[in-house]
């Protein structure tokens, strides 16, 4: 027998485009439509526009491989997983799956708010394809994992959303299929629980099971998967070892050149009166660059205008690694003195500028986001992935050892070596 777990051959899914108003056809419409233009309906029974959510996708997954599926929203990842888990039927092509499939497209499917935690564990387990005896056997483990022992006989409608998600994930995590299809379920709960979920996922991967893993969290993808396929606009464009694929994915699809300029049609109407103009990354010489040296200070500049005055406005930046881990968040009025000085910002053209000191960031790729808001009142504008830039470590501390340094920062610390 072949050692393949999944074999996908030229798979494609076509969707009809429904306009919002016409989402559900009513019988009357169908009848009048058919009467009015019988010929058209015979020739083109769908009568609506179509598009391919996914097309010409072929790949194979060997038994025991953990394969990542990455791509932007709308690239067809979910469609692929839905077809492989038999929720939707492909329009063309064929896929073969050898082994029992467990798919987690969402946690807590079928949970009923009126039922208790215990009852929902059994119900959800059965929906996911577990036998009652299997659930009996794992019940204590599931409850322990979810950390909600004392509420297990309370209806889940009284749960906090965190408890609900924990219980839901716990059931899913104890499914033991030969092939696991996972979609973004790790984005649940608090940081502590997320770590636990990731741990569980790597256990699953380590047990030699075949896993198909879709996520936007690139650090999770690199940690958990060996290989990745990249989907772009419904086509598979790459299959490569994960680190390579993640790098490729990250370097495509973001703005380049160290500067993000917003055109007027990109600015949402809710952001009025705040109008973003540009976000720039500049080196010590004041040049806009997409690569800076870690040993030089770098300047970040948000250029914007206000069409009318805003009271209490703060304009800030998020710095993230391209893998999605936050480095820091900072606002232009973090200093109380600055805040009282600029409490009311009149209409006009502004620049909020800050400098990141030299010897702070480690080598790597960073994403810069921007946020303009009034605390607890209104968020005018936000773009979490406005600019991407590189930090080049030439001259950084410890460069005489050729090794990658762990961590986001690479500070030059004042070491003293004392002999006593």
């Amino acid at each position: 027998m072949s050692n393949l777990a999944i074999k996908v051959n030229d798979l494609g899914k076509q969707y009809k485009i429904f306009s919002e108003v016409n989402r559900y056809q009513t019988l009357r419409e169908k009848i009048t439509e058919t009467l009015r233009s019988p010929l058209k309906n015979l020739l083109n029974p769908t009568g609506s526009e179509t598009f391919w959510a996914l097309r010409h996708v072929s790949f194979e997954v060997e038994r025991g491989l953990v394969l990542g599926v990455i791509g932007k929203n709308g690239a067809g990842k979910s469609t692929l997983l839905k077809m492989l888990s038999r929720v939707v039927e492909p329009t063309e092509g064929r896929a073969e799956i050898h082994g029992r499939v467990g798919s987690l497209l969402e946690v807590g499917t079928g949970f009923h708010p009126e039922l208790t935690g215990r009852e929902n564990v059994y119900l959800n387990g059965a929906i996911l394809g577990m036998k009652r005896s299997e659930i009996d056997k794992k019940f204590d483990e599931i409850v322990a994992f979810s950390e909600i022992e004392q509420f297990i006989d309370t209806p889940v409608k009284r749960y906090s959303s965190g408890m609900y998600m924990r219980l839901a994930f716990a059931v899913s995590a104890h499914l033991e299929p030969e092939i696991l299809i996972v979609d973004e379920v790790l984005a649940v709960g608090d940081a502590e629980f997320q770590r636990k979920c990731l741990g569980k996922m790597s256990d699953v991967a380590g047990e030699g099971r075949t896993v198909l893993f879709v996520s936007h969290n690139m650090s999770a993808v690199t940690r958990l998967t060996k290989e990745c396929i990249i989907l772009e606009h419904g086509k598979m464009t790459q299959r490569a070892p994960s680190s390579e694929a993640v790098d490729y994915y990250l370097s495509h699809g973001y703005e380049k050149g160290g500067e993000r300029i917003w055109t007027s049609d990109e600015i949402p109407s809710e952001s009025f009166p705040f109008k973003p103009i540009a976000l720039r990354v500049m080196n010590a010489k004041g040049q806009v660059v997409d690569s800076v040296r870690s040993v030089e200070p770098l300047t970040l500049e948000m250029d914007y205008s206000l069409d009318s005055a805003i009271t209490g406005l703060r304009v800030g930046i998020y710095l993230m690694t391209v893998r999605g881990d936050y480095v820091f968040t900072s606002f232009d009025t973090d200093d109380p003195e600055q805040f009282s000085k600029h409490t009311e910002r009149r209409a006009g053209h502004y620049i909020s500028r800050c400098t990141i000191p030299a010897d702070l960031l480690n080598e790597g790729r960073y994403t810069l986001g921007v946020n303009a808001s009034v605390f607890r009142i209104k968020r005018y504008f936000q773009d979490a992935n406005a600019v991407v830039f590189n930090v080049n470590p030439t001259g950084a501390p410890g460069m005489h050892w050729v090794e990658p340094r762990q961590g986001v920062t690479r500070p030059r610390l004042d070491w003293q070596i004392v002999e006593k």
Binding site: L11, Y15, Y24, Q25, T26, L27, R28, K30, K82, M83, L84, S85, R86, V87, V88, E89, P90, T91, E92, G93, R94, A95, E96, I97, H98, G99, R100, V101, S103, L105, E106, T109, G110, H112, E114, L115, E119, Y122, L123, A126, I127, L128, G129, K131, R132, E134, K137, K138, E176, E178, E207
Partner: protein, 284 residues
């Protein structure tokens, strides 16, 4: 942990995923694999239905009982409709039992695909389990309401005859009819939400073409065959024959016609549902 892993290691099953064409096979194998889900969904429906209601399962009795009282007053006492020579209350209650089961099962199962939309668009399981389990959940209500009938038989001194052995067969006929119509409607409802508004009206009309408040003996002889095309006519008259021993309103031909129609509805419903199953997740 380790022992679990060993247990699940068996010959891997292979699933082929590709577009289905033409009349598709029913895939009963999957239904068997997921049989426990039928049980769990039935159990959920029952549990949820009576949670937070003061009278709980008593509702299963109250509904047909009140209907019997109203029918007895208006159709029995005032309109003086014939009841095969039996006291009108027990005669109508015997008919109401399978009718209430059918009406409730139909209305729940027809809407079931829509109410389970979230599940259907996220997880694979044989979709037929959804309408199937909603019909089964109503079976429990039927059994509870049946207890009252036993009490009434004591009250009216009606001794059951050997005919009673046929009762499960008529119940099966009622289940098959409810499932058949439920399958058709639940699949159609996914595409045409109009069905949702038509349903109460259809059920009401259906009751009046079924011998619930009147005996089918009042239907002229030449129309009897046409009348029997309604499988519920056979079910209701069958119930009365099996439990109360009525003779005038029932004929073997009627039961035969009703059974054939019920089976046709059921089998065609299975295939229609299976055919539409492919697009449910896209439509919901």
């Amino acid at each position: 942990m380790k022992t679990d892993v060993i247990e699940t290691v068996k010959k891997p099953e292979t699933v082929i995923i590709q577009p289905m064409k033409g009349l598709v096979a029913l895939n009963l194998r999957d239904l068997w694999i997921y049989r426990e889900l039928v049980y769990f969904l039935t159990w959920r429906d029952l549990k949820v239905r009576y949670k937070q209601s003061v009278l709980g399962v008593l509702w299963a009795i109250i509904k047909p009982f009140l209907a019997m009282v109203v029918f007895t007053v208006f159709f029995g006492n005032l309109a003086k409709l014939p009841s095969d020579g039996l006291p009108y209350p027990i005669w109508s209650y015997t008919g109401l039992l399978p009718w209430e089961f059918f009406a409730a099962a139909l209305s729940v199962s027809a809407r079931s695909m829509l109410t389970s939309g979230n599940m259907v668009s996220k997880i694979y399981f044989p979709r037929i389990i959804v309408p199937l389990s909603s019909v089964f959940a109503n079976l429990i209500d039927f059994l509870i309401a049946f207890v009252i009938l036993i009490g009434m038989m004591f009250f009216y001194h009606i001794t059951p005859t050997i005919n009673m052995l046929w009762l499960p067969a008529f119940m099966l006929l009622a289940i098959i009819t409810a499932l058949g119509v439920g399958l058709w409607f639940s699949a159609l409802l996914v595409m045409y939400r109009d069905i949702n508004y038509m349903l109460p009206f259809i059920t009401q009309l259906w009751m009046f073409i079924s011998p619930v408040v009147y005996a089918s003996s009042i239907v002229p002889e030449k129309w009897r065959v046409l009348y029997s095309l309604n499988p519920m006519a056979g079910v209701v008259e069958g119930f009365r024959w099996a439990l109360l021993g009525t003779q005038q309103s029932i004929s073997p031909l009627m039961i035969a016609i009703s059974s054939v129609i019920a089976l046709t509805l059921f089998i065609s419903g299975l295939f229609f549902f299976r055919r539409m199953e492919r697009v449910f997740a896209d439509m919901i």
